[in-house]
Symmetry: C3
Subunit: 352 residues, 3 copies
């Protein structure tokens, strides 16, 4: 018996099964710097200790997307090492700020199982939660992945699918307790736009593009200790239709989110991800662009507002070129073209 883990197959999952993921991780100031260098983060709260203190934090908070990637990375070895595809995310809720020096542990529960009619694969739904070193939950999310079966055939007598919400309601968002938004100073972020300056259905073209290189996306993914081989093993990927390594979908989310800083500089806190799809794979050499649309907005009280946003990521073309294609696809209710790589629905907090 070889001692190396080769990942779970569909038959290895059972409803209600609880997986305690190993290798809890202390997140350091260095992880924050690397995240900045690898993804181009310019949100001012995460690189300015003085600003954080002024807003009431006692320690430097970490960007929620960095927290997400590190927590998500913990689950890969147990859940998605043999995944055919990551099908979706729902109810991603950032519950508490995570600070430099915190150590995250992650646990997942299997909340749904459904065999595919081809008899070769099945869908596993999991609810994952990350806790800090004091045991407080800081992040909760659900995702579903298609995984291979060990043996062909149909095994279960019924399918269990969890009821997933389309979005995390504005009322259910967690607002950092220590946050003293009255001290928020726009000069630190560089933009004056606050809640009221954004209109429902408004589009923002974030303009800049970021080109991906192999070292960069693989370093980011190794930093998250995510060991899905599609990102790292060129020797194996050469013989797939991709013919090369795939960029971790979360890296694309981070690139797009960080591009949105240009036009959404005060939307510093991601409070929830309502849903997300990776529309097409990305590879080294691709240049990623992003646009966002305001889906919904609301004053939450105490000077804090919530914006529900849809961010579209696309590659090797700018928005002026793609907008007509996008509009045509919407009109004809057809799929977006292969230029599009990400469709993310999420909610941010912003001073009102």
């Amino acid at each position: 018996m070889n001692k190396a883990n080769t990942g779970r197959f569909f038959e290895d999952f059972s409803l209600g099964q609880v997986l305690e993921h190993p290798i809890p991780r202390t997140i350091t100031e260095a992880d924050a710097s690397l995240y900045l260098a690898l993804t181009g983060n310019r949100f001012s709260l995460y690189c300015n200790k003085e600003f954080a203190f002024q807003l009431g934090y006692s320690k430097q908070p970490l960007d929620n997307m960095l927290v997400f990637h590190i927590a998500f990375g913990k689950t890969v070895n147990d859940i998605s090492l043999n995944a055919v595809a990551n099908l979706g995310y729902a109810e991603v809720e950032f519950l508490l700020p995570v600070f430099v020096g915190d150590t995250l542990s992650v646990v997942s529960e299997v909340i749904g199982l459904r065999e595919n009619s081809n008899g070769k694969t099945g869908i596993v739904y999991v609810h994952s939660r990350a806790m800090n070193q004091e045991g407080y939950p800081v992040l909760s999310w659900k995702r579903w992945v298609m995984v291979h079966k060990k043996e062909k055939g149909m095994h279960n007598t019924y399918a269990v699918e969890p009821q997933l919400k389309n979005s995390v309601g504005f009322g259910a968002l967690s607002i950092p307790e220590e946050l003293n938004i009255q001290s928020y100073d726009d000069r630190y972020s560089g933009e004056a736009y606050r809640l009221d300056d954004y209109d429902n259905r408004e589009w923002i073209d974030h303009k800049n593009g970021l080109t991906i290189d192999n070292s960069e996306h693989t370093m980011a993914t190794k930093l998250y200790q995510n060991d899905a081989k599609v990102h790292f093993n060129n020797h194996q990927m050469e013989n797939t239709p991709h013919q090369q390594r795939l960029v971790y979908g979360g890296h694309i989310i981070s690139l797009c989110r960080n591009l949105t800083q240009n036009g959404l500089a005060n939307a510093q806190w991601i409070a929830a991800i309502n849903g997300g799809s990776h529309l097409n794979p990305s590879y080294a050499g691709d240049t990623i662009y992003a646009v966002s649309q305001v889906l919904k907005k609301q004053e939450l009280g105490s000077g804090i507002g919530a914006l529900r946003l849809r961010t579209l990521g696309f590659k090797n073309a700018d928005w002026e070129e793609l907008k007509p294609l996008y509009e045509k696809a919407v009109e004809s209710k057809s799929k977006l073209s292969s230029d599009f790589v990400l469709d993310l629905d999420y909610t941010v907090l912003i001073p009102s």
Copy 2:
């Protein structure tokens, strides 16, 4: 109206205008490690806490070039996003040491404006200053950039050009107050050469070469939160005469400066940059080499000396190959060949 910033054009600048650059930045131990990994820094003071303490510092000081890049990066979005070219630097003065944990804010003042006769571009002169979290100025510099106009034509009735000094005088150099140079131990740097060992007009061939890769120079530039698109957006750069991303000029300065450690290991403090030109662009794949010439030297007292140096950076050829070309160009007063990428005039402190 799209909310994303697309940068200032010539018409957006006015004489005396003050720009408070957003996103102040806390510089961490991690930034110092990344700087080392990205640029090959081997100056002993910046990687050895014990040596720093022995020299009188109460905290780990940061390499002045790292400080410069982070401060410079802050100004790009407001000043040079639409720059045709960075024309030059002058009076770059490092006023106070910057330590791990310090937070820098940067302010620029427009000190000169001159339209070009083509009616399409103009030159903007700015004086930028970086302050630490206590409000003390740590770095001051002037630069001038050529920027596009929104509309063609001549608009101003007069041109204002600032008087820029050719160099920061030896008497005006800032010496770190806490520096106890008597404790300087050559064994830590690995070279015994001090002020008196360098002769006026002496050349030093630093010998080693460093090859640039895309991930590396773009990570460095993202670390500095410099978002000039020429460094990041291959999709746009493909359709320019460069056909690819340009390496941030400051990265070349850092590579050359760090190469000088071999032969100038005790010149640990850059006190001032008197002037600098990027002679030619650099691209991923280029191998950078450097030579330095001593322009002037002086004992400043208390065991500290100043060396004014000229460092030439060049690529894909060693000095033995290029020296005859250099000498011919000097003799005929013609331009240096396209192998040369940097001509930097700066002043360092060195134990005497």
Copy 3:
């Protein structure tokens, strides 16, 4: 006289000569994060502060391979800048844990010299030791390198070769004093295998592969301040039979060691390296795999066991493909094929 160091030649070494290597280095939390991002480290002890505290450490210990690379890097400039080849390592002993914030100084003594009969090269044997800021030795190792002579011909009248042990005996291994192994919790590492679960001669196929990119291996090597030009200077390497930069052999050791985490997750402490050979060079683009064989095991008492392992690194082929070639080579006592890059004999501590 050019002031830049161009390295020692065979004639520059003498028996008993002591070289105090310059540029002592403080190792930071950031170096640990970078090591993780650059080499894919997933050993739980080095990324989880809470786990370290639980095991009795008062500070975050650093991965011994990171310690080795940083210490080794210090010696390159004085010993192997003109090396034709790094011939081998022996008696690599990790004596004390190194913690975040420690500063390492390295000293080497020449313990052997032997001229090669071609009259062009010679072999230099050195014993290097790294000390922390309190002067305690933390790492000791011997290596021998072939270096060029300045002048052709035979100069010495006799050869001195040190007696090198084939291995560091189990009884001579240093066990971290603060280590409270009773608190070891397998849930943190993710594997339940302890000393007794491994059999003598057992093979472990670690399965995963990691592709190397240029930025990554050069960043790692710069992080270690190892300035051997073969890793950095593509312009010079293009005209060698390699036609490109060589990956630092130590980077390959780290990749292989980190791959072993899958199957050896509780073997968190490298206590000694008994010997190692770089069988073939690696280049950017290569995908590295590893298998390990248990050579010997022993209970050391107090709940700690020692495993002597042989890890083979190979590239661009998986073990199923290479195993027959390996077995054939063993049977016929012939050299391993050019797919193999590393043969490392080392001893790890593991809970028993």
